[in-house]
Symmetry: C2
Subunit: 357 residues, 2 copies
């Protein structure tokens, strides 16, 4: 077991080693480890060495000038200058929050960025000020639209965080696919079949082969097939792509650069880097804050205590599982798989930073 | 077959008969018939007599004072004064568009409204000004959250309309359930089973009984079951509910008033009427308009012409089926089912307006 402080410290030192300022490295490390704490292990320190490989390829800038390139009172486009999204996204959220303070809401589309960790870290920044936060990002193409045999969209997550009074906040953070890639990796390790509706083969046929995506197939949009509404998952992934990249000037659809360093980006890009989209709404831009918070508590109370289907003892509110995981891991530590420990140890050796096991 | 002009004229006259001004009646009729034109028959003139029954019960106000009750430069809450949502929603969109003109974006949450027709009519209003439009509404509770045996959410649709240059616009309009109620009605008429993942029984068990919802069961959120991501459909429906009603002061969740006059609203409401939420973003609040429109055309072109799975000759872009239906029905007329014709004929007789068949 590892403590969050230990993993954050290690990550910060590695990010400093590749040239990030202490302040940026600390922020990036904090965003990264927030994923481990919340149980989204695929987006935490397990990704660090991948980020460093992108930097080694010259695809990540560690001395970025992140700046606004277009704005109105309620909007901005931020140029991430090829920094890690881990640091670009919080800056975009700060801008959105500041605009919301001024005119009620703030909306920031980001170009020229890289992977930004978990969507939920960024949306949740708004909660401290009792604002509603929204975060989304496009991602490397792995998902086939309904009726398509091509990978044209990423898992394109959406996160929405909504403040409450006494209840824990409502925090949704979801990929717009039926299942995230991380779940497939679990099945692969166990040599199990995937459920119907998760993936299709290289030829575009439904498959339960958990290695289907690795073998050239695609993840399926939420819904799985047309009869179960996959065109709606395709719609959601498309909206994320367009708000994140067509609005900002980033790459979209199949042009989004791969997250892995061994695959090269398109030599015919349609924009710069990957894109994100953020929104912040002040609740008191709509009604008195106390009224809103009281009704959110009532909403959550009613849903959580509704009658359950047999076999389940409660109805979950978005954010419940991750919050409970975080409480557990803050107390008991964060487990890491052996290959991740090995990977981080080697990474540390390369940069002269000891990864203490 | 009926022409759009004929159905609009009839609907306008009925709405005038219950007291709406000619201008409001014309607008309401136009919104209503736009559903018939786009092939969303469940939301068109088939609903007119239901609206009138709500008015007869005193639940619809035909001489409303629709007004802003709270605002900032980028936001407003609109009180629909119990009018039909058909007329309230376009007013909310006008306000959102006007705010977007001023500060880049506009966001309007609406309380004290009623059913607003198809979500897509309203989002598409923004297209005329090359703006992005967003429209959502809560609705009578028919949907059970994941693990719940209770109906706590409506089919809570989301529509997003995005302008283009030479391509037809991107127009998404989707319920946040696996299947809309209208599709169940088709199966019921044909005495067919429903697919797995559409509905659950009164006891909260999966069922393929197409009458399951009528017998006290519930529609399932997009995804169908947990393994296929139903918690994500539940998240989406929840966000629509909260943005539409907790932000505005309308009824939410199980308190949303039923759309049918024979079911009474809760005697312990948590707000006023039903709620909607609208957003408008000026694309040139993010980047030069021409750049945006060109890249949207490129996005659509790439997706539409992607390689298809076997058995399908093209990948659809959101809005394609409805646009093609509208072109067909503008040319060839709108078909109505015999019970709808009978219903409208009787409605006409009651108000002294001839429904010409």
């Amino acid at each position: 077991m590892y403590t969050a402080a230990q993993l954050t410290d290690f990550s910060r030192r590695i990010l400093e080693e590749i040239g990030y300022s202490t302040e940026m490295a600390q922020l990036g490390a904090k965003v990264l480890v927030s994923a481990d704490l919340r149980g989204v292990d695929s987006h935490g320190v397990a990704r660090l060495s991948g980020y460093i490989r992108l930097w080694e390829k010259g695809r990540v800038n560690s001395t970025p000038d992140i700046k606004i390139v277009h704005e109105t009172p309620s909007t901005a486009v931020l140029d991430g200058d090829a920094a890690l999204g881990l640091m670009v996204a919080p800056k975009a959220m700060e801008i959105a929050m500041s605009k919301a303070e001024q005119v009620g809401t703030g909306w920031v589309s980001v170009k020229n960025s890289n992977h930004y960790g978990i969507a939920g870290y960024h949306s949740m920044m708004a909660l401290k000020k009792d604002m509603i936060g929204l975060s989304m990002t496009n991602a490397s193409p792995l998902v086939a639209p309904t009726y398509s045999a091509e990978r044209l969209l990423g898992t394109n997550p959406i996160s929405v965080a909504i403040p409450t009074r006494n209840q824990p906040p409502f925090v949704a953070d979801m990929a717009t696919t039926t299942a995230a890639n991380g779940k497939l990796e679990v099945l692969q390790r166990k040599h199990m079949e995937a459920p119907q509706g998760w993936i299709q083969s290289k030829e575009g046929q439904p498959t339960t082969n958990a290695f289907g995506v690795k073998e050239g197939g695609a993840l399926l949009p939420l819904g799985g097939d047309k009869e179960h509404g996959s065109h709606k998952g395709y719609i959601l992934g498309s909206i994320v792509d367009i708000f994140s990249a067509v609005l900002s000037g980033a790459n979209y659809g199949p042009w989004v650069p791969p997250f892995v360093a061994f695959l090269d980006p398109s030599d015919d890009p349609v924009g710069e880097g990957i894109g994100h989209f953020f929104g912040v709404m002040r609740v008191d831009a709509f009604r008195p804050k106390d009224d809103f918070l009281d009704h959110m508590d009532n909403w959550i109370d009613r849903f959580r205590n509704s009658k359950t289907t047999s076999g389940y003892d409660r109805v979950l509110i978005p954010g419940d599982p991750e919050r409970e995981m975080e409480a557990d891991r803050l107390q008991n530590g964060i487990p890491l798989l052996a290959p991740v420990v090995e990977d981080l140890t080697k990474l540390g050796e390369k940069f002269g930073v000891v990864f203490e096991t």
